[in-house]
Symmetry: C2
């Protein structure tokens, strides 16, 4: 437990607070439930930047016309194993989960299916969508473009692609799904913020100065957001691949050509489901082999015996177990921001009496 | 032109030499044509480690029983948009191209399709398969496991995953496809060999010592093959994702559990095709937007005006144009190795009189 993070809030109350704000924005109850589910799932897994902490950004995007809380979402095309959804400038959680359901249904019929989404906005943590697919016995892949550019193409001086995440999940027989959820930048924005809070330099290879040299100051790195793609040119290639799947395929805005923020962001997402039972011929064999593989990876001799080797998803599931027991930490700054947007929207602010339970 | 690389061989003669050797191994003519096409495509694109230079390894794998030149390849399952191929311990090029054809046919029917391959061996450069798909107007994704472990899981001391490549291609309206082909290690084995030849240290972050510290000596790095995954834990996650798609999904050998080499390697591959025309509703719109995106990326202000920003595939296509005009450089060491295996197989050695044409 990290007491400096503030009080711990039970997951149910955390979710109620989100629902209060979302409904005050006139979001329909059905949409608010889905949105709160997706955001809350990220908070439980410790992806703090992609949970309730997004609501101040969402508030701002509604204010400046970039997003609406009352979209009319439509399926533009629906053809065998592929479909295209128009998000009507709403946030990405509702069309994202529609895509999960549609892709799952079609994957069970055809073996594989994919759904693209255009005219959307931030959809939270990509890992939440693929985890939902894996919990149904399917392999899930999801990618998203981002409403603003942050990654600098290798050899360039200006950002042209978002932190364009890739998420992948696969079902396990006896454990939680294998769950990878990563930005295609070397370091996530959240890591820059941690360094800023800790007042430490950031390593070379995370961000650039405007002249293209390594940026070591986290404050300037956050100001300029000139992020280095993961490991250099390969990460640049991956970020561009995500742009193709999320934006070019759906017809969403192309991040390298984005104008100034303020208009509809027209973010694109991509969701793919694959049924290992149909492909390999046996769901049980697939899942047993997945467990054999992840077990063998965890048994790699560790450099530090006190820190066993982990597999993608392990840290998030450990955090989730802890937060389900002890609550989700609420930093004072976030509490203040939430109080502010709740007041502006005439929503109840429920977190005020909450104090640490552990 | 780099005269130190030896003489330049015309692509047609290069291909004939491969066919001579493959047929001398009793590979059927149909299989030899496909295998030579895939290897030769890599050589033209400058992926020298994944072209004809693989034949000495393939020779050794046939000798030690790891692979056969005369497989009977079969389709194990064929269900709507997914299928599973058994490679019968042959090399991966023939089942790989079967997978490309099958996936393309089904993607045109269902919108998306995927084929997994088990019981295979090295399939050359993953990019060759996805490029073939993109040249038919499809998005292609391919991954492969590798016959030996080289990537060390983050925090570990021993290799548990291969250099597990990911390839992605997407069709362009007026140019060559966007083409990404990358190992999930920070540096490819080929880069270690370049440093070895140049007798320079390798950067921190490429390889580890047996104690888990940075390895700077390229000779030791090649000996131990303890490679750092791309950018750290994210690359480890990507390498494990590739293992799931290539091996767990197909039922191939799990690299973390591989025994000693010498037996059948049972490598797995994965090939996915997606029809942007069906998904977005217009092939022309997709391809025009792909060009707008790649143009905008290339127009990023460069750090060095003499080195414009590139897009994945640009260096390979430039190399291909040059080698189609001037021939493929044949290093003296490779020529000697090829002469040796040609002699052992009673194949004609055609490269002996070839001398530089430029």
């Amino acid at each position: 437990m990290r007491p400096e993070l503030g009080p711990y809030v039970a997951a149910a109350l955390w979710r109620r607070q989100m629902l209060e704000i979302l409904r005050a924005w006139r979001m329909s109850d059905a949409h608010a439930q889905v949105t709160a589910d997706v955001l809350g799932a990220a908070d439980l897994m410790g992806i703090d930047s992609h949970g309730m902490a997004l609501l101040p950004l969402y508030h701002q995007q509604i204010q400046d016309g970039g997003a609406t809380a009352t979209p009319i979402i439509s399926v533009v095309h629906d053809r065998a194993a592929v479909a295209l959804i128009d998000g009507d400038a709403g946030f990405g959680q509702v069309p994202g989960m529609m895509a999960v359901e549609l892709a799952a249904e079609r994957a069970e019929k055809f073996g594989i299916a994919a759904v693209a989404i255009r005219n959307s906005n931030h959809y939270g943590a990509a890992g939440v969508y693929v985890r939902r697919l894996a919990e149904q016995g399917l392999i899930g892949i999801s990618t998203s473009s981002v409403w603003r550019a942050a990654i600098v193409p290798t050899g360039g001086l200006e950002p042209r692609l978002g932190t364009n995440p890739i998420a992948f999940a696969a079902p396990s027989a006896r454990g939680k799904p294998f769950l990878l959820d990563m930005a295609t930048s070397t370091a996530a924005i959240g890591k820059l913020k941690l360094a800023q809070r800790a007042e430490t330099d950031i390593p070379e290879g995370w961000a650039l100065t405007r002249e293209g040299s390594p940026q070591r100051d986290p404050n300037l790195a956050l100001l300029d957001t000139l992020l280095v793609p993961l490991g250099g040119h390969k990460g640049y290639g991956l970020a561009a691949m995500v742009e193709v799947l999320s934006s070019v395929l759906s017809g969403a805005a192309l991040t390298p050509l984005r104008g100034k923020p303020g208009k509809r962001h027209d973010v694109g997402h991509f969701v793919l489901a694959l049924d290992p039972a149909m492909m390999r011929g046996s769901r049980a064999e697939f899942e047993a082999d997945l467990d054999r593989m992840t077990d063998a990876l965890r048994q790699t001799p560790p450099a530090n015996p006190a820190r066993p080797v982990m597999v993608a998803g392990d840290p998030e599931y450990a955090c989730e177990a802890e937060r389900l027991s002890h609550g989700i930490p609420l930093p004072a700054k976030l509490a203040e921001q939430l109080r502010g947007i709740a007041e502006q929207a005439n929503a109840a602010f429920l977190l005020k009496e909450e104090r640490a339970s552990t």
